[in-house]
Symmetry: C2
Subunit: 249 residues, 2 copies
DNA sequence: CTTTATTTTCATCATTCGTTTAATTAAATT
DNA sequence: AATTTAATTAAACGAATGATGAAAATAAAG
């Protein structure tokens, strides 16, 4: 009677299963960098690129590992799971943008003196760090911004979005409240969502404005984008003061 | 020698394959409704609901067919493929919104007399049909609007989005151009994207504004949403006239 | 060099996916 | 009633997914 698994080259799977504990490194030595850190960065960059280009959950680990030029098993070895990989990709750059935004706002506060910074200053402090990092030509930042925009539209990732963006959001909502004292608290929240919406729409990289305008406009033209979005949002936000006033009779 | 497929209850797959032609109905009799039309509607409704709640490509046909209470094979029988199902779900309500929007704009044109309708009238004609259909309490429209918002963020579905929304977009971009004669053509495109962005952000149903405002605001409150978004967008659009003027020195 | 810990590779796992086939039931037509 | 057509059901298919196991390779430590 011939053996059944004639195609099996290697050893067959063990009958009695061994331990199922995690075998990844625990912490490693305190000071220095780990040996596989370079691989981690390569995978993170490739994941960033693939997630920004494709349709997020539709992007497989194999696509990412092939783009990175590493074995697929390394992804799970270094990051544990696909979910953790997505988390690390997004959290990697989040703090830098947050800090840059807050710093710009602090500078505006200092420049304004005793009165709170105006709408223009707040909006600029919020938008500038994003758009600047895109126009810098760094493909990584371009990919990051695109994938973050998509992320905010997916209910499944709402907890992650909160962790990434809630500090920034609440910080600038407060600043907007101070800049628009006559607007109601509700109006400020609505205005912030409209601001995010305008930003996301031109940053998600769907190619829609390029098609609609038949090449006349491009989201890659961040200078123009900045010149258009700032007045739009600022004027829109100022209108909220009237909305609140009307609502209060 | 015992047979190899002892677990097979039914007949094994045929060795020589027969024809591989499509077996779906061709056209059926001219006038009346088909026998399976009720099933089609049930599947479409279930798909609409599932796609709006979940993360689109992450929603499986099995989830949809279970929600509809029908066999999974019926989905492919009636729609041919998942892609076609998504197309039918989205196209089902697209025309109605488009017609309502254009009708409202025509009424505004008539009311305005010789001059073109103003920004407020154009924006209202664009936004009102959407928001009205949500506040109507029809869960189907709520689901449709949410899933369409998500769809516009996915590059993979850009061709479908174009087919669904390009007529409306170009129609209202023209109207905006007439309402804002001093704004540059580029600015109009940017402004339209910002308008879409604000709308999408409050319609996608991510629950973000509810969390940020800790329940103070809700996207289900369409009356408030309408009262906030219209002044915001209108004032924002008017700012584009200045942008263009400044850019032209 | 020897030993130890970490990283990489190869092979395979169990699931789930969209889709298809063949048989069965129901309805419409003759 | 007999025949033809459409709709529904049950079962399985091949492909792809995220994840894991156990060796092999590599570097570090003694």
């Amino acid at each position: 009677m011939p053996q059944r698994n004639a195609v099996a080259v290697r050893t067959p799977p063990p009958g009695g299963r061994k331990r199922a504990v995690a075998k990844r490194p625990v912490l490693a030595r305190a000071g220095g960098a780990r040996r596989g850190d370079a691989t981690r960065q390569i995978i993170l960059d490739a994941a960033e690129q693939c997630l920004a280009a494709g349709d997020f959950d539709g992007v497989s680990l194999r696509t990412i590992s092939e783009a990175a030029g590493v074995d697929i098993a390394l992804v799970n070895y270094h990051f544990g799971s696909k979910e953790s990989l997505v988390e690390e990709v997004t959290e990697r750059r989040a703090r830098e943008v947050h800090d840059a935004r807050v710093l710009l706002l602090e500078e505006a506060r200092h420049a304004a003196g005793t009165v709170p910074p105006g709408v223009e200053a707040v909006v600029t402090a919020f938008l500038e760090p994003w758009l600047q990092r895109i126009s810098s030509g760094d493909a990584g930042w371009q990919n990051y911004n695109r994938l973050l925009c998509r992320l905010t539209m997916m209910p499944k990732y709402l907890p992650l979005v909160r962790k990434l963006l809630d500090p920034t959001a609440l910080h600038f909502i407060n600043a907007l409240r101070a800049a628009l004292p006559k607007a109601s608290p509700e109006s400020i929240y609505w205005g912030y969502m409209f601001l995010i919406g305008a930003l996301v729409q031109i940053m998600a990289g769907t190619g829609r404005i390029e098609q609609l305008s038949r090449g006349l406009c491009s989201t890659d033209d961040t200078n123009t984008a900045m010149r258009e979005i700032v007045p739009f949002v600022c004027q829109g936000l100022r209108a909220l003061e009237r909305t609140g006033a009307e609502a209060r009779r």
